[in-house]
């Protein structure tokens, strides 16, 4: 029995995407973003401003001077880095719900999303692709469909995992088979409702490369690869484990060999530690908890 009508109905009560992050998303399409535009977006949101200062001062961004003001942060970090921080600060509100269909711990999906954003960022640098903030954001939001689908995956988990195990299906294909819709497709619907830029919506809905058009955009392939590498790294794994399809043509497309993947994982291992601070975006208490996680 398909649950599609039920799942789509639940989108009617979807809370709005945080306004500040949404306005920042629209700037991703612009070739040039002025500092004033960014200041205008964040200045009325004290929580995000505080986050920006805290993250700007984290080791991940490696600034030597301590930053005290928004303006100073903007000048020192540059607009691309700032866009990442603003979007991450806003998006955290969407990811703060538990997703028991996928993760046993409350922050599991957020941790995976942050890891994937960092991995996408790293891959973009390795492959000398431009559009850093877009890449980071696409990595961060690729699994947004899990926020809503979790409830239904949780209800039908036994059937889904049985399909994965007995038919050797990917977890996403098994979702589609059992529920009638998978987290990528649903994420695409959410992106539509939230007026995300088209390209971001496309990455979200195609990030498991289950349709031929996925191979038309490097950004889709890059986020797919980042996701896979993060799964291999471990640490942020959910109940779906590594049950996703590996497509060698993506490696050929980016001219990456197995040895390159190892090298990238090695680099990610060092970045990942420093990036833990981003988990603390969720507010003080969680921040402390996450900072001490192994």
């Amino acid at each position: 029995m398909s649950l599609i009508p039920q799942v789509l109905k639940s989108l009617k009560t979807l809370p709005p995407f945080p306004l500040v992050a949404q306005r920042a998303l629209l700037l991703l399409n612009q070739p040039e973003v002025s500092i004033q535009e960014l200041v205008d977006i964040v200045k009325f949101d004290p929580a995000i401003t505080a986050n920006i200062l805290r993250i700007s001062n984290s080791a991940y961004f490696g600034l030597r001077r301590e930053i005290h003001s928004l303006h100073q942060a903007l000048l020192l970090l540059g607009t691309q880095e700032l866009l990442k921080i603003i979007i991450a600060s806003g998006a955290t509100r969407v990811f703060c719900r538990p997703t028991p269909g996928y993760f046993t711990e409350r922050l599991g999906l957020w941790r995976h999303s942050v890891s994937c954003a960092i991995m996408a960022d790293l891959l973009a640098k390795e492959l000398s692709l431009a559009e850093q903030a877009t890449t980071f954001t696409a990595g961060l939001l690729h699994d947004i469909g899990k926020v809503v689908l979790s409830l239904y995956v949780d209800q039908k988990f036994t059937q889904i995992i049985e399909a994965v195990e007995s038919q050797n299906l990917s977890f996403q294909m098994a979702e589609k088979m059992v529920l009638g819709i998978d987290h990528a497709e649903l994420g695409g619907e959410m992106a539509r409702l939230w007026d995300f830029p088209d390209r971001l919506r496309i990455v979200i809905s195609l990030h498991h490369l289950d349709r031929p058009e996925a191979f038309a955009d490097d950004l889709v392939l890059l986020v797919y690869l980042a996701d896979l590498l993060v799964l291999m790294f471990g640490q942020d794994l959910g109940v779906d484990g590594l049950a996703y399809q590996g497509y060698p043509e993506v490696l050929r497309h980016f001219q990456l060999r197995e040895r390159d993947l190892e090298r990238i994982l090695l680099k990610f291992g060092s970045n990942w530690q420093e990036a833990q601070i981003l988990f603390g975006l969720m507010g003080n208490q969680d921040g402390v908890q996450c900072a001490h996680r192994g």
Binding site: V164, D236, L237, V239, G241
Partner: protein, 159 residues
């Protein structure tokens, strides 16, 4: 006390109240060794098969790689009184994404590297739970030498 072994990390102990745990192994491998007489044990969680990838990193953090990490795990346990002939060796992790056998094979290479090192040094694996596409968490209880694997989304089982 629960002691967490991070990624590219190792912990050894001879304190009976300790439980060593390493979380969410993907392609990485967790090796648990234990000497039931001296009650010394340790867990290594390494990420990659071979330090020739980056010898400097291998020196900075030997626990990153199988070839530099595994000897250190054994040596640290010997230092606390473990003896090679008595060691129980259990291995978990090395998962893979779905697809063909030639790509995205870090899990498989991680396991192959371990087998090679063990073969060369006459070490036998007593139990293992390796491969597939699951996320695993590995526990070692120092008081008893009991080892468990928890597969994410399933029950914990003894290994």
């Amino acid at each position: 006390m629960q002691i967490v072994v991070g990624v590219a990390d190792m912990k050894v102990s001879n304190q009976p109240e300790d439980v060593l745990v390493t979380h969410a192994l993907g392609s990485c491998i967790g090796v648990a060794i234990y000497d039931p007489v001296s009650r010394v044990g340790g867990i290594l969680h390494y990420m990659l098969p071979d330090s020739s990838l980056d010898p400097v990193k291998g020196q900075e953090n030997p626990f990153m790689f199988a070839d530099t990490g595994i000897p250190r795990l054994f040596r640290e346990c010997y230092r606390l009184g473990a003896q090679k002939s008595r060691l129980l060796v259990k291995v978990a992790g090395g998962s893979q994404v779905l697809g063909n056998q030639e790509h995205f094979q870090i899990g498989r290479r991680n396991y192959a590297a371990l087998r090679k090192i063990f073969l060369k040094n006459n070490v036998l694996i007593d139990q293992e739970d390796v491969g597939g596409n699951k996320a695993r968490t590995l526990f070692l209880e120092i008081a008893t030498g009991n080892v468990w694997v928890k597969i994410m989304g399933q029950n914990t089982k003894p290994l």
